[in-house]
């Protein structure tokens, strides 16, 4: 379950940001995940809630936006929904994006 690694890295980044802003509580965390990262959002939420217990990010809502990769044949321009390297026309298919895990924005309460 590689979601635990992501959850830990996410929590570290969120807590650092909260500390820099003297936050008392983190209320929501907005993230953007590329679909090719194979992250299961339920497992990510479960891991995050487990490891954030006792921190100011406990009970924060995880708002996840999934980003599709762009999978296009370099020869005929056909677009695909699945990971594929070669098109029916024989052209090489290029795959761009879909591999990012970005912490976009954090909402927090301050004094």
């Amino acid at each position: 379950m590689h979601e635990l690694s992501y959850a830990q890295a996410l929590l570290d980044a969120v807590l650092k940001l909260a500390e820099e802003n003297d936050a008392k509580k983190v209320t929501s965390i907005h993230i953007r995940i590329g679909e090719l990262l194979l992250i299961n959002p339920e497992q990510l939420r479960f891991c995050f809630s487990a490891i954030s217990k006792g921190t100011i990010a406990e009970d924060a809502e995880l708002v996840i936006e999934f980003i599709k990769p762009k999978i296009v044949c370099t020869q005929c321009g056909k677009e695909f929904d699945e990971v594929i390297g070669i098109c029916d026309c024989g052209g090489i298919v290029s795959i761009e994006g879909g591999k990012d895990f970005i912490l976009k924005r954090v909402e927090m309460e301050v004094e």
Binding site: M1, H2, L4, S5, Y6, A9, L10, A13, L17, N21, A23, K24, T27, I31, L36, L37, L38, E82, V83, I84, G85, I86, I92, I95, K99, D100, F101, I102, L103, K104, R105, V106, E107, M108, E109, V110, E111
Partner: protein, 219 residues
Amino acid sequence: MHKIEVEAEHDILSLNKRLAKENREFLEKHGVIAINVMGAIGSGKTLLIEKTIEALKDRIKIGAILGDVIAKEDYERVARHGIKAEPLNTGKECHLDAHLVHHVIEKFGDVDLLFIENVGNLICPVDFDLGERYRVVMVSVTEGDDVVKKHPEIFRLADVIIINKVALAKAVEADVDKMVKDAERINPKARIIRMDLRKGIGFEEWLEWLRCVLQSRGE
């Protein structure tokens, strides 16, 4: 108390990327070719490394980092061949990451070829660059002939795809041609090797690929 919104645009994988870059720079500086050996559990990754050591150890210096969740069996098997080896236990993780490899990488500055055997599975290791030069992904026919199709991402990013245990294909009713076709469709640039390590099938083709990449660094 009041609420604020803080824009971050922070790449959560940035720490792994930075450490992978450091690993890669270290390996390149010392002329080490590192290969991330990934693949399914029981597909033959450790045996591939063992047989390769026996075939090449008189000519080149080989090192190995063996990743596992808790056990040290793979490390013990490989260390028996008299090469420099290090076990890496991930504890709870299902993959190696650049940070774990970073802890031991400096011990391998004097080898020509470094195998980094990842934890056996076809999903978790995919997105953790370790700083390797090449990625080898190994599966075997006993995992079912749809195993390639079901895990496209790991095969897309492979330099070499090995389908092992082909001598057992008939017994387990696996269609090796289908596996090869699936691999070609996902990754037309990869070298695809049909192998049976116990019978010696495909091993020479693997060694030939290795010789090519070693020559590319002036070996």
